[in-house]
Symmetry: C2
Amino acid sequence: MAVTARDVAARANTSTAVVSYVLNNGPRPVAAATRLRVLEAAKDLGYLPNRIAKALRTSRTGLVGVVFPDATSPYFSALAKDVESELQRVGKLTLFSNSETESAHEEDVIAAFRAVQVDGIISVSSEFIATGDASSDVVYVFNAPPGLAPTVSADDDKAVRIAYEHLLSHGHSDIGFVGGPQDAGPVGLRAAAWRALRGDGAEPFRSAYSFESAWALGNGLAAGSSLPSALLVATDEQAIGILAAAHERGIRIPDDLALISLDGSPITRFTAPALTVMEQPTRPMAQAAVQALLGNAHPEMIPARLVIRRSCGCA
Amino acid sequence: MAVTARDVAARANTSTAVVSYVLNNGPRPVAAATRLRVLEAAKDLGYLPNRIAKALRTSRTGLVGVVFPDATSPYFSALAKDVESELQRVGKLTLFSNSETESAHEEDVIAAFRAVQVDGIISVSSEFIATGDASSDVVYVFNAPPGLAPTVSADDDKAVRIAYEHLLSHGHSDIGFVGGPQDAGPVGLRAAAWRALRGDGAEPFRSAYSFESAWALGNGLAAGSSLPSALLVATDEQAIGILAAAHERGIRIPDDLALISLDGSPITRFTAPALTVMEQPTRPMAQAAVQALLGNAHPEMIPARLVIRRSCGCA
DNA sequence: TTGTACGCGTTATCAG
DNA sequence: CTGATAACGCGTACAA
């Protein structure tokens, strides 16, 4: 059996109440001498407060639930890491789940989190969310259920415009867009921004959010006659898939096809060739998300920055 | 205030004890009629058992702690995803933490997990672990503290031998090895296997487990005169970093330098050129780990399989 | 300033 | 077969 507050109290010749006062710095003052005895006793015994009992009493668990579509995506994994790190910094433990895992969909995952009484939930969902849960403790990143605004989001409009204009400055006129299976979530926003820029009713290319799917798309494009001279790609995994197809098909990047990816996770520096990207910085997003969770809620819009490398045609 | 078992009992004209018996199917039988009344009442009230109270009573939380060095690594993120998925399948929630995050080291993380009374811990540590915690509920994957055997591990010896021999069959005689900063953990094992195969006292090349560091190494190798004709690379992120450096330096893969990576996560199919790998399958490892956690403990050794693509010189 | 005692919502023992 | 009731470990009124 583990050592309890009672044990500490006994060893310090005092009561559990005082032990509690000392360890929580309140809500009542404790004489310096007694305080010292308690601290000593706690250390000697290696006392570790039982967080479950504490949670039962206070109804705060110190747990926060985090939902991501897919921890395997280069960008999401970077973001997830920063979120976890940030949460750790503020003393929270991270309950993690992939929403795309097997049968588990967003709602089930969130329900499961609620059942263990998490202190809050951070949801990073790239696609639509069925049920809007307005009245609650959920911080939506990137995307929110219909009717709700994301608590922290990226300035997709501006990012797409900067990238588009950069490609324009390279002399491209037919700038295509690789989007998701549907125009939903943040990728939908990016697609919309691109449509507006094109202004000619052109349709995005469709690809799932996977290397594989984008690779297949790239192969199709390479085989057909509709290969544009430049492509804005919604996510890093799609850009990487297209790079792979291009390499295999002998399509030279950027000479035959210029590319800009709109995530900009660290790996994009190390592809062959290195990808020019609109970098959506993960650390600020993570910080904004956990600050929002803590109630310091400035709804924030994080700006992306153009990082010029090889795939756009520069240098 | 939420509805409690007491409320259900009241509405069903019975006691909390019986409510508990019904909802847990035991440990005592309940008359069919009473059972029905309880179920009805529970449904009417929308009763949801308080898992915290339950945990306090049973000291089982349904939580399992999972520690990874770095969720950003292609291989680890794939493994993490499978672990989470598997855990979900058996009704556990996944508490996740990166051990390399900021100040948080393995032990602190594990202590934090223990404090919330996790039902078990899965530790995937690529480097050494200071304190061996033998008497406990932790499943070590790949690597274990000194004196302990990992519960589930890869057959690194065999994997390295197969890869080495494959390179040999391509006619290479100077086959180098890219390892970690120190010869620790599973990479240490891989390094040892390589040393044995070489048999001439050659030293591994050193690189941290990051794109960046391997890229720097690749650059150094390209600039110097000691570039071998073939390289076994311990991890995918290192292989990708070297690929990037080679691309920038005009070193042709596999013509000037043949490569085999020893992780084999999905992304290796989509590099330019595609990487030949020894694939350490993540799903079986994840399954073995959670089965071990559940007490169905066959210490397992998962075999890797050679996946031939372009970087080794085939085709 | 400190100690006693109750309650958080369960489960499980012990009488009935 | 069922009903009180005693824990689980902690926080905090309330009393001293």
